[in-house]
Symmetry: C2
Subunit: 418 residues, 2 copies
């Protein structure tokens, strides 16, 4: 076989095996010649052939790129998925007016100016000054009194649960309220724990009292007192994920389990929902016993949250911005949910529309003649809670839809349902 | 008991129990009055008493803060530890001239300007464009040909090993070269795996071929070929942590195990060492089999690396800065190690001084009359490899010591040893 055909075949099979993806730049002629130890002319011939067969294209002054037509059989899911979704109602997306990115930029800039701090790794436990700021903040907001020493920072609740998994006794039974928090349940199972749902006599009980169901039901105070008292007596640990607590708008603010408990509650919360998802910083307060175990294992646990973002967040909190941001976000999302519920009621007068306790989710029940696949095929990403006898129940979170698109988004939902 | 004394006792015990740490701001008089449901005068009296007894101090216009004297018995380790270390020779600290923070700031700024991308969480697998840039980079640098689809990004090697732990068969036997990588070994053990050292017939073999020992020995090419051939035959997976590969200066560049293997190697590398520790982004290329398992579990794994930093790093790589940064860092640290070895030879003519393969570490063996505790008590943080019959062997990494302090650092080491 001619040399250039050999090269042709190598690269062709790399493209066909998806090792080279559509849009990727391939090696320059000079570099490829060096790599395969052949002449530049050989490579040029191979590339010409690949261009002719549609595997790559040449872009002047830039180089050669893999074409998308060459990738008919690839599963390049991500860029595609993005394109096919028109409206995403599954939450976890922030409104673009909810957060002052320019202000945040200033804090990041000033964090990066602290050159010397950038030169070392962040403490496994998180930056000390951020933990002080968090300690102050949760004392004031949630009556959670905890020394910065017992606070542990991580990139997201999963990263924190990962740490808890390394601290517990391996024979512990873990209880979750239901099967919806797949990430948490899967994690504990991967570590070999016995995970059950609604198991009263578990050693560890995970709850998110401000988001008990997918539509944001809140645990009543009476139940909170019962849970902490029972678990105290039993000697079990409660993991309180204070998820979406800040959004409680319709109901009276409820006390944290941590404040009610007697030292057996791990308090856990995240800043992503208050700020933007891209800032992934969460924290937890360990129980004194678990913190003692943590100290012995700390040297082999690594910090996951960005050091720059930790430093920036510390000043952001200290300067009072988290406070005002929380108020702003709560007002904005609550108004949006109400607006959207109103629009939906107009468009779908025969459906049942309710707003969840924490005013972030809408529960819509309606008759549907089509298959539930219709939503996906129409570019709608939404959680289907129930589908039975042509009745469908959807949990709709409009937070990521801009205000001026609410009308269009509701229209598309209507078209899918009616 | 008078009301104000009750409040006094509550706060005093919070300080004594270390729930309120030195330097922390306590609640304002107005807020405390609201919280405890007492008059402002009552709180003021309590605070005056606490001031008088030295528990808190008042700072005009700012509020009340817990004093450090009140915390005699606290274990506020971190700020203290920082103060007591004068020179840290354990590595993991960057030279302040090694990285252009201003340039990085520009990339961060431009990433934050991509407002819409900031509004959603990063993909569990990492940002797609960063994975494309990494795919191009490792193909060129290490001959690691892998589609962006098989690349997974995470905040540090530990975060990536965590993912691997969720993908493997639970009965797998994992082999590490020795006991030094505590983080990795502890993690696999926490997941319940059988971890052994230098176990030939393991199902998974972890190696860092460019940093085989604490002083940076490099795995010779012959051994690399043997390892990949043997593991292929056996059907075992090799985790290749390409740690410090970029620093190989004295030895010929060695091929990656991934390039030598036949699809059974997980290639893993980190950008922290090349950039600065504060930028914690690592990645791995999964084997096709493990990637298929990953896809089924992906939806419940969360991304840990900062989204902003991922976007910034992508452009940074695309613009060629990682290339030049690598060259700069290698030159700088290699020169520093050589300089420091020379200075040490002058100061300690009777000791044996060698430089490790990857020119980042110095191995120093010398006679010592004092106890090895002397280093810590003199503010020196250094790894003691061996201490026997008054002979000590140290592994010294001078990377974090500024050039103009090398002389002083060597002098302090001399004082500790002689």
């Amino acid at each position: 076989m001619k040399k250039y055909l050999k090269i042709y075949n190598i690269i062709k099979s790399q493209i066909e095996n998806k090792e080279l993806a559509a849009g990727q730049k391939i090696l320059s002629v000079r570099k490829a010649a060096k790599l395969y130890n052949v002449s530049i002319t050989t490579i040029q011939n191979a590339y010409f052939e690949l261009c002719a067969d549609g595997y790559i294209i040449s872009q002047s002054k830039s180089g050669y790129y893999v074409t998308s037509t060459a990738e008919n059989n690839t599963i390049n899911t991500e860029p595609e998925e993005k394109d096919s979704i028109i409206y995403n109602f599954t939450g976890g997306i922030a409104d673009r007016d909810s957060f002052d990115l320019k202000l945040w930029q200033r804090y990041i800039k000033s964090a990066l100016r602290q050159g010397d701090r950038m030169l070392s790794y962040s403490s496994p436990q998180g930056e000390y000054d951020l933990r002080c700021a968090i300690s102050d903040y949760i004392k004031e907001k949630r009556n959670v009194v905890a020394s910065p020493d017992r606070i542990i920072v991580g990139a997201g609740v999963t990263a924190l649960l990962n740490i808890i998994c390394t601290l517990l006794d391996k024979s512990s039974i873990i209880s979750f309220p239901d099967n919806s928090f797949e990430t948490g349940i899967g994690l504990f199972r991967d570590y070999g724990y016995d995970v059950r749902t609604r198991y009263k006599d578990a050693d560890v009980i995970y709850v998110s009292p401000s988001h008990m169901t997918r539509w944001g039901d809140v645990m009543p105070i009476k139940r909170r007192v019962e849970l902490t008292e029972y678990s105290c007596k039993k000697g079990s640990i409660v993991i309180e994920d204070d998820y979406e607590n800040e959004f409680l708008y319709n109901v009276r603010p409820t006390p944290s389990l941590y404040a009610l408990g007697k030292g057996n509650v791990i308090y856990m919360s995240s800043f992503s929902a208050m700020l933007i998802p891209a800032i992934r910083i969460s924290f937890m307060v360990l129980t004194p016993e678990l913190y003692d175990i943590y100290k012995t294992k700390m040297h082999r646990l690594a910090q996951t949250a960005s050091k720059t973002e930790q430093i920036a967040l510390c000043s952001y909190i200290r300067d009072g911005h988290l406070n005002s941001q929380t108020k702003k976000v709560r007002r904005l999302y609550s108004a949006k949910t109400k607006d959207f519920a109103k629009i939906l009621k107009n468009k779908l007068p025969n459906s049942k529309i309710e707003i969840g306790d924490n005013t972030l989710q809408i529960i819509l029940s309606a008759e549907i003649s089509k298959s539930p696949d219709i939503f996906e095929s129409m570019g709608i990403k939404v959680h289907i809670e129930k589908f039975e006898n042509k009745m469908i129940t959807l949990v709709i979170s409009p937070s990521g839809i801009p205000f001026d698109e609410l009308e269009n988004a509701a229209e598309l939902l209507k078209k899918a349902i009616v």
